[in-house]
Symmetry: C2
Subunit: 274 residues, 2 copies
């Protein structure tokens, strides 16, 4: 296991010392938060998606104003979303993967403008558990927010995608795990797009690791269930703030956020009960 | 009880229909979130303040870039903060109230640029419970975020302020309720600065109503414990997104966010156990 470059040791140090420093702002009179650097933009509340709010709430063309990298869910669920290099891809439960129509909408999505602070090229193959342990050994701030891009070859990848729900169907996601379609790939070349988020973001988002996959030829993707790495390069973008855009739809206004959905969130992320 | 003006019926309608609409942006090429309108900026995590992280993390002069209205806590606790008309006031446990030095820091604060969408002038006197019920009858989106400014005369107001903690003291706030200093005012003229926040913001913030008081002459203030209104005007600013600036201090990096502090948060807000 070796770290080939930590080419941004200086930005990292600046980041760690940045508490209490002004948020940088190109125009000091603009009275805006800098949401271009180290900032995670999320639309929707994770707990609401898990609890059955699958309607599109935010157009893809607007989402692109807030980030070029990310993951989420399409309108009516209907698969999984990958935001990569400024384009947005959808993988449906048939496996079909395509670039979305910008006028359509996401039901929940998180994006950031990806600017790597750390680059790692681990020397050995790892399964999912080993990869997460390896990342934990590098990302030592347990309360930090990290965007993670992994490019390379995977000796095995298993993804999933949900089929679309019917109009006005609000079955909680954890009750639809039996409807997931799974896809397995050997010697797959492509990109993992994901995050490690801290515990205090649970309920509005999903804490821990969360990755989606997009193949090099953009013809396959989905939410990561399992993987074994071959030769990969890992890029980390350290984030220090996040925005939540809260939908004002009738469904959101009447949603019961008091129910504790932590176990549901975990089982949906894993793709099944423990 | 009568509503004298709802002068912004049109902006309100626009707000309710705004899900899925682009976030407005003066410069479409700026790739920034509009954090000037209907946006709550928070620095720090509520659960961390409640759990004992009282060190200043963000300078007041930077806080002013994100809002002209709000409430929070000073460095080392040392009382209560009121952000009003672009100025930041501190009430210490002695009762002394003054405008802060911009170079000093807050340990937790939320601010927004206050632009009223609804104005109400209730016709009768109300105690705190009745005021909150009255506001609930107007603010019908239980999952909405509302900034609330109440100006006028209060036949009775009771506030509190905490004394400063010692350097490196991290006693949880709920264990220091016995140290609060209370202040009572009759026929007080001034402003209540506050919010009603939805349940999903708990732990990172405080759900429900949360008000601080600032007297007309700026010589008294503090966190509201109890009140009875006389003649008041209520202004409501409907918010639709929020940003959390996560401090990168060593204390924050090592803080245990897994402990459930919901009961502590409620007892600190109330100023005592139920």
């Amino acid at each position: 296991m070796r770290l080939v470059h930590i080419f941004s040791a200086i930005p990292l140090a600046v980041f760690l010392l940045s508490a209490g420093k002004p948020v940088s702002n190109d125009n000091p009179h603009s009275r805006r938060t800098d949401t271009t650097h180290n900032h995670l933009f999320t639309v929707g509340i994770g707990g609401a998606l898990i609890g059955g709010l699958y309607d599109g709430i935010y157009p893809y063309r607007d989402l692109k104003q807030h980030g070029d990298f990310g993951l989420g869910a399409p309108d009516k669920l209907d698969g999984e979303l990958m935001v990569f290099k400024g384009k947005i891809y959808q993988t449906q439960s048939s496996g079909k993967t395509f670039e979305v129509d910008d006028r359509q909408q996401t039901s929940f999505c998180m994006v950031n403008f990806f600017q790597p602070d750390i680059t790692l090229t681990p020397a050995r193959s790892m399964n999912k558990t080993e990869l997460f342990q390896y990342l934990d050994s590098v990302l030592t701030n347990v309360n930090g927010m990290y965007a993670i891009h992994i490019n390379g070859r995977f000796s095995h990848i298993k993804t999933r995608a949900f089929p679309p729900v019917k109009e006005h169907q609000h079955t909680p996601l954890a009750q639809m795990l039996g409807l997931q379609h799974f896809f397995e790939f050997n010697n797959a070349q492509g990109d993992l797009i994901g995050y490690r988020l801290p515990f205090f973001m649970d309920n509005t988002n999903i804490s821990g690791y969360h990755f989606h996959f997009l193949s090099d030829n953009k013809e396959a993707g989905g939410h990561i269930i399992d993987l074994t790495t071959d030769h990969i390069t890992i890029e980390i973008d350290l984030l220090d703030s996040y925005t939540i855009q809260v939908p004002a739809t009738s469904d959101y206004q009447h949603f019961d956020f008091k129910t504790n959905r932590e176990e549901d969130i975990k089982s949906v992320e894993r793709g099944g009960k423990k």
